[in-house]
């Protein structure tokens, strides 16, 4: 596609439910990132994929968060047993470079946990 695509664009869920957020990166981009954007908190790094492997999961806030990437393309971020503090915009980015020099971001998924 022309850019990074994320779905859904908005997700409202109840506390305790599981959610899956999807990211379709730009074709051919080897590196894929997930960031979380909370109001007034900037962009918080969650996880980085190099191909299908995730050498750095250090940013995941808790073991309720997990992510996978298949076929070197689509990635899914899963949040189990959602909590109200998980409410945020989840941004996916991809990059041709493995050094993270130019990230192309999707428009994000706005997650609201009630």
């Amino acid at each position: 596609g022309a850019g990074v695509s994320q779905s859904p664009s908005n997700k409202v869920t109840e506390k305790g439910k599981d959610v899956e957020l999807r990211c379709d990166p730009i074709s051919g981009h080897t590196a894929l990132y997930w960031y979380r954007q909370s109001l007034g908190q900037g962009l918080e790094f969650l996880i980085y994929f190099q191909g299908n492997s995730a050498p750095d999961k250090s940013g995941l806030p808790s073991d309720r968060f997990s992510a996978e990437r298949t076929g070197g393309s689509v990635s899914t971020l899963t949040i189990q047993r959602t909590q109200q503090e998980d409410s945020a915009v989840y941004l996916c980015a991809s990059s041709l470079s493995l050094q993270g020099e130019k990230l192309f971001f999707g428009s994000g998924t706005q997650l609201s946990v009630l």
Binding site: G100, K102, F105, G108
Partner: protein, 110 residues
């Protein structure tokens, strides 16, 4: 912890004026300093970037000034326009992970 500190949190500038956003960093391993621009409902987009061996980089109305000894860098937007109204993020890169500042919300009034 916050490795890049950005100020101000918000900024209002009149059309035609100069917008200045400042960032300070802690990690001397950073080797690339980009600025991203984000419009409401969109993801951030790379605006301009600099490496620490250069003191200034200019692209059109946008200039980065970099002071390695002070561990500070700033974005200057000359002749600011209402279309520049957005949130701006500075960042530092080490390895593959960008560390972002908390952002500056810029409003350019007509």
């Amino acid at each position: 912890q916050q490795q890049v500190k950005q100020s101000p949190q918000s900024l209002i500038v009149q059309k035609g004026g100069i917008s200045i956003i400042n960032c300070a960093y802690e990690n001397t391993a950073f080797d690339y300093f980009p600025w991203y621009q984000q419009f409401p409902g969109k993801g951030p987009a790379l605006l301009i970037a600099i490496r620490p061996d250069v003191s200034e980089k200019k692209e059109g109305r946008f200039t980065i000034s970099f002071n390695k000894s002070a561990k500070q860098f700033s974005l200057h937007i000359m002749d600011s326009q209402p279309g520049d109204s957005a949130t701006y993020f500075c960042a530092g890169l080490t390895g593959y992970a960008l560390n972002f500042g908390k952002g500056t919300s810029l409003l350019v009034t007509p």
